[in-house]
Amino acid sequence: MQTATASSTPTIVIAGNPNTGKSTVFNQLTGGRAKIGNYPGVTVERSTGRTMLPGGRLATVNDSPGTYSLASRSSEELLAVESIAGIDPLPRPDLVVVTVDASQLSRNLYLVLQIIELRVPVIVALNMTDTLAESGQRIDVSTLERELGVPVVPMMARRGTGLGDLVRTVDRVLQEPSVALPGWRWTPQPGPLTEDIAAIADTVPETWHHGCDDRRRALALWALLSIDAEHYLAGVPGSLRQRTAERREAAGSAGRDLDREIIEGRYAWIDSCVSRCLREDPRRVSITDRVDRLLLHPALGLFLFLAMMTIIFQALFTGADPLIGLIEEGVARVGHAAGTVLGPGLPGEFVVNGVIEGVGAFVVFLPQILMLFLFIGLMEDSGYMARVAVLMDRVMKSMGLHGRAFVPMLSGFACAVPAILATRTMERRRDRLLTMMALPLMTCSARLPVYGLLIAAMVPPWQEGGFSQGLLMAFMYLFGTAMALIVAWVMSKTMLRGSYIPLVIEMPPYRVPHWPSVWRMVMRRVGDFMKTAGTIILIGSIIIWALLSFPRDSRLEAPFEQQAQAIEQQLEAASGDEDRSALEGQLQQVQRERASAMTRHSYAGRLGHAIEPLIEPLGFDWKIGVGIISAFAAREVFVSTMGVVFGVGEDVDEASEDLRSKMWSDRWPDGRRVFTPLVCLSLMVFFALACQCMSTLAVVRRETGGWGWPAFMFVYMTVLAWTASFLVFQTGRLLGFA
């Protein structure tokens, strides 16, 4: 068989069971600089990167989907075998590195055997040797090498040990592939099974086997375990499909259990291999078992779990506040300093309100992202995350979600941005997508000020809010959570239907978290966010600033300028403190009115007018439209925009009495009040469901590698929000609440 010549760039594929450190090895080989793209023709993501080999040679490194077996049931799973075997149009790998969890040797070797059968050079990266030692076991590496006939490199990938060895072995095998091509390990006895294989091998297309007999038979064996009436695998030639079906049927009517024959054959080989290279100390109760007795205890374990989740939630929800406050203050100071240096006028406004505020808009997420990933890193590294998945499996599965989706969904109550980044703890893309799509419906902390303002606006300004308003706030939380779960459930039954995975969970032994690797992971995530999502958020902020600040119209500003000048002159002449403060108040009022007029006149103001026919059936006027448009920068901006539009200044918060009374007395041209309780409720429902957050869209783009999913998210959430608000408002009106 031919291999790539030394001059061209060799291709390395990383394969392995789920949760064996595949992506850790991939990241370390490529230095974390991976390009995320799709497999040709399908929307399954594939990471590609490059690695530097000794001697300065470059190699391409491709990730492959994590899998327990190459036998496929779905077109997605077909990709694992296609990328490993290099079936057209995927490149033929020069080498496959299989990551193996040393503490789950048998199950991992099952995949290794299948890959060796395909006759591609294989290196086994024997990972997690540290956890193996903890459970009192040891693997004799040279015996394992001899048995498998391929190089075995012991590693602790999380700690970065063994990586140098792996790179040297990769280099050696690329130069001399024969040391990693032992041929079939388990060979069926001549008999009905070998006849089946030979018969099917005839129909394996040349583009698959490239004239190599081992590979041809391996693909025939693969077909026997993969192709059946239950699942349609796109891309499998009809003749192969038909021949396989015939042989399976014949075997069935002869009373043979083909699946068991093949799987038992492989496991018989594995069992004897493992018994030769696995050394065991006399059984002892490991620390892990003792800790699990506590943490997985039906009552105590649940209590500890809830306590831990409460701590995380509190940390995100309130613990991050001082840091966020510091950042906001810092941004304000930088803005103020820049404003003083640049003076009044457009360039200064652009730098202060566009650029600096825009940078602030994504830097402000850092405390929560940092904290969440610190917790997740600690939970992953200590081994607790796998237990969370187990504890939550039943509840989450009933909604179609993965057990590991619990932490991201919970974090969604604080902020969707770090929560979406946290979906990476799930291996399958389908699980990640489903969580990402439903998550922004959880009531994040940015909705709180909006709800606060609108709930306050429901009662007249001269009245105090009561118990029922607290109840309404609680209801909004419940509503958001319920909608998120319903959406997850619906999507899991329709567009994001996952193939059923029977065995999901392996519980790794507990370990003391390794701080340097946790910290490296946190920093990598933060860096990722800053680089990709940050840019989009900055650009988005500038666009929204421009929409609210242009066009300029000196005729519009002139009367305010004149008024302001007149007051300033009086101010210079005034002597008494009382006079001065009254005049300063007047001056501020003029400036607020000017800001209000400019906003009403701006593109955003015109857009608000333009969308009024669309939002009128929800009970919203154009001013609310402007608020909705500006809230795209971040939901809480709605409050300050209302402040500007109503001429009470942008430094208002949701408790502002001025703003409340302005909203109370705001009227449609025909004299009806705008902010009736029904409109407030309709608007809250809109904010609960609409995708009013460009940062969320920016991170979804970052995580999915394209604009398709963020676009879908925006559309579905907006349609959902519009429909729900419409129903609330129109039903309310029919019932006479308007």
Partner: protein, 75 residues
């Protein structure tokens, strides 16, 4: 003979047969749950609906629903 989900914590057993849909059955066997395999039920996590097993010298957790397809005799 009984199904795996009926075992008590700490019980040891030997797998006798695997049934269920062909794909599910194949998957279970590919995870090393083959007829004749000895196993131990380490822990029942009834809240999560999961059973933790020790099989072929490693740990594995499966759902109650899947465990009903695994028929065992206690040893």
């Amino acid at each position: 003979m009984t199904s795996l989900d009926q075992l008590q914590e700490g019980a040891t057993a030997t797998l006798v047969s695997v049934d269920g849909q062909p794909t599910l059955r194949r998957r279970l066997m590919e995870m090393g749950l083959l007829p004749g395999t000895p196993l131990q039920l380490i822990r029942r996590l009834d809240l999560g609906g999961v059973l933790e097993l020790e099989v072929r010298r490693s740990r594995l957790s499966i759902r109650h629903g899947e465990a009903t397809h695994l028929h065992v005799v206690r040893t």
